[in-house]
Assembly symmetry: C2
Homo-oligomer: 105 residues x 2
Amino acid sequence: MEKAFKALASTPRRRILNHLAGGPMTVGEIASKFDMAMPSISKHIAVLHDAGLLHRQKRGQEVIYSIAADNLANSMYSFLTPFCPEARALAAERKLTRETEEGGE
Amino acid sequence: MEKAFKALASTPRRRILNHLAGGPMTVGEIASKFDMAMPSISKHIAVLHDAGLLHRQKRGQEVIYSIAADNLANSMYSFLTPFCPEARALAAERKLTRETEEGGE
DNA sequence: CTTGCATTTAGATATTTTCCTATTTAGGAA
DNA sequence: TTCCTAAATAGGAAAATATCTAAATGCAAG
């Protein structure tokens, strides 16, 4: 509870959750969406994971994170999100990167 | 959203919400539950109010705060709370002060 | 208009958070 | 082993937060 709310009280961390809503990603993939150094992203991911909001899976030397959909705080967050103005910007950001990637391949 | 999560990411502020769940209170009444200087409490209340989580009403020189039950983030919080271990402690605290007050009057 | 009480604002300090660069760990491939 | 890449950790500077005491504000009563 404490951890979940602290984790969600950060814009970069909510943006990470939002990107992961589009599917699992490696740390590097997540970092590529941000104009922020990798260790900072890694730290944010660790906070989210420690709060039980992310699942972690290793594949070779990569670490894949995904939303812990079973987590209650997470469910509430995704329920709440569409009602907030902030959500539009986040959705747009997610959509944009997906289209760019599809178009660029 | 930003403000609501930041507001909820603090133990004293969640405790304030919990106390207010028992009914509206003045700033002084809220402060009496805490071992913390009045200005600090006042600040916490201001954060909650600014996040839209509290309603504010003046009665003479007193200011009465109450839970903004219509607020979405608030609803989420009160829904989520009973599922968390933290909730038991909060409920016990609320119950204790109510009994003490009733017994002491 | 002065006094008294409830609340808020100001200003200072200590702690926590955030972010960076540099380094370390771990895995896969030559 | 040695090299390369992905991710995490270490250490430190800057910004935000929390808390206190002291002072200001607002309101009501005398």
